[in-house]
């Protein structure tokens, strides 16, 4: 276990060019998780390269904007990787305004949907994403949906009310043909 921890820290340090400290926690079942906060947002790219060298897999990306972070003038993203059963979370801070982050899609193919999703929920631009279209939300909904007040029926595409049906019917009347 010590060897594994050392290997992970050394590989990330090697790729980003500075010493990083990973905090390791072990739960009552002996399952280990690693937690690391990178100094700059752009470091996520070499850090992800390091994880790929360790044969890791991208599990999930979580973007979030807490009140505490807002007071500091930052927003956060956590990248959760799987290293053969051990979850390693690498977190970064980005500025509140004009947040930009490099895409990980050329390292981890499955970053595609994760990045498209947080781009529509938060005011974060992913640089170099091959297909930065909306993933779930309709184009008509303002960007950064989690950062503004949006009526719930609009946010959920009207799926929980009659709003979606009314929208389809209105479009139907407008075009004069059936919606596929």
């Amino acid at each position: 276990m010590m060897e594994f921890k050392k290997k992970v820290s050394e590989m990330i340090s090697l790729w980003i060019g500075e010493e990083v400290a990973v905090e390791w926690r072990i739960d009552i079942k002996g399952v280990m998780t690693g937690w690391c906060r990178l100094q700059e947002g752009t470091l996520i790219l070499p850090a992800a390269e390091a994880v790929a060298c360790l044969e890791g897999r991208l599990s999930m990306i979580t973007a979030y904007l807490s009140e505490q972070a807002k007071l500091k003038g930052v927003r956060e993203i956590s990248f959760h990787f799987d290293l053969n059963g051990t979850t390693l979370t690498l977190s970064i801070e980005l500025p509140l305004e004009g947040a930009r982050i490099p895409s990980l899609t050329h390292i981890f193919r499955n970053a595609d949907w994760n990045e498209r999703e947080f781009m529509e929920l938060y005011d974060i631009q992913v640089v170099g994403h091959p297909d930065p279209r909306r993933l779930f939300l309709d184009k008509s909904i303002d960007p950064a949906a989690f950062e503004r007040l949006i009526p719930y029926s609009t946010f959920s595409n009207g799926a929980n009310s009659k709003a979606l049906w009314e929208k389809v019917m209105a479009q139907n009347n407008h075009t004069g043909k059936e919606i596929p």
């Binding site: 739960d27 999930m60 009140e67 956590s78 499955n110 949907w113 779930f136 946010f155 799926a159």
Partner: protein
């Protein structure tokens, strides 16, 4: 090469939930795919940040019906981890029982759909009848055929009396013969093999590249099951084999699910035999402190991961989860390429997609 694009929706694909596909075809052959999601998006990650931890258990159970136990159970595990709550041993076994009951029902539903798509109507009916034993079991023990309401922070909300445990044991005994027979049928029936073998192949290198999880990954030879890799609850004390296949095709994915259904019966029996008496939930709960954690489980469709960030209040600062289907959609590009349009419904359903889970 001149190609055209066709749009397919749930009606054409035998899906019970809305997901659309923009398929690029050369004549009858699939050459490209674009998955169009969001038609059942309910903004649930937003809703969970506006509700307290207790309300979120109820909300998350309604995320989807087929894996409805995995969500509240994994969420509760995350809250317990942040707060340092240790749930009673009996509750760990009761959570495993609920999870495995749901796994059997979910896997059988998919195997029935596969039979339906390939025109095996009698087999479809047989599989659904076998599944009905599980539905009756859920209704008898939990009072509901889909949402079990089994979990609470610190343990579970239900217990098994000696009578109900005996009933569950008998129901599992009833499942063994039919499940073995189903496995034999899917493994040897020539008509089924002809339609499923060599179809929708996802090689092991592609499975790694696309980072697929669950039965889809295991059918391509990836030996990964969260219950083994990240033991949680009672799984560190339960014995089972991780079901894997090497074919990576529609048949391999069905075979993995049928073997897992059979293993789940054994896991439930082990739980019934090994479950200690005692409390089913922690007596006192501390306040949930500020912190962050990861919780994982093996849902019927594969690895489910939850990230929870708290600030000391009774509402999450952020609760994010990634469902197994989210990882598996993209791999359809590989599975469908080179196959006929007529094979699309069968290949799409072979990943057992959960659309309510994907969209949230």
């Amino acid at each position: 090469m001149s190609t055209s694009v066709i749009k397919l929706g749930p009606h054409q694909l035998a899906l019970e939930e809305p997901m659309y596909f923009r398929v690029e075809v050369d004549g009858e052959i699939v050459v490209g795919l674009d998955v169009l999601a969001g038609y059942v998006h309910r903004g649930m990650e937003h809703l969970v940040m506006k509700r307290n931890f207790y309300q979120n258990i109820t909300l998350l159970e309604r995320l989807c019906s087929l894996c409805s136990n995995s969500h509240p159970s994994t969420f509760c595990t995350a809250v317990e981890e942040v707060a340092g709550i240790r749930i009673p041993a009996r509750a760990e076994y009761l959570r495993a029982i609920a999870d495995e009951i749901k796994r059997i029902s979910s896997h059988l539903f998919n195997c029935a759909i596969i039979a339906h798509i390939i025109g095996q109507t009698a087999l479809f009916k047989t599989v659904m009848e076998i599944r009905e034993i599980m539905q009756d079991t859920k209704e008898s023990i939990y009072g509901n055929r889909m949402d079990l309401a089994a979990n609470c922070i610190g343990g579970v909300r239900y217990d098994l009396t000696p009578e109900s445990a005996a009933y569950l044991g008998k129901q599992m005994e009833r499942m063994k013969g039919p499940l073995d027979e189903l496995y034999r049928t899917y493994a040897t029936d020539q008509a089924i093999r002809t339609r499923t073998e060599g179809l929708g192949i996802l090689s092991k290198p592609d499975a790694v590249n696309y980072a697929v999880v669950g039965p889809v990954a295991r059918a391509s030879g990836i030996v990964y099951d969260v219950r083994k890799k990240n033991p949680y609850g009672a799984y560190d004390r339960l014995r089972f084999e991780v079901a894997t296949e090497q074919g990576g095709d529609v048949r391999a994915r069905a075979m993995v699910r049928l073997r897992e259904a059979r293993e789940a019966v054994s896991l439930i029996e082990q739980c019934l035999a090994d479950m200690p008496p005692g409390a089913i939930y922690a007596d006192t709960l501390p306040e949930i402190p500020a912190g962050e954690t990861i919780a994982k489980s093996e849902a019927p469709r594969g690895e489910l991961i939850y990230y929870l960030k708290t600030d000391g209040t009774d509402m999450p600062v952020r609760l994010k989860w990634r469902v197994p289907s989210y990882m598996n959609w993209d791999a359809l590009q590989v599975m469908l390429k080179g196959h006929s349009v007529a094979d699309i419904p069968l290949i799409v359903n072979s990943i057992d997609p959960c659309i309510s889970c994907t969209d949230r």
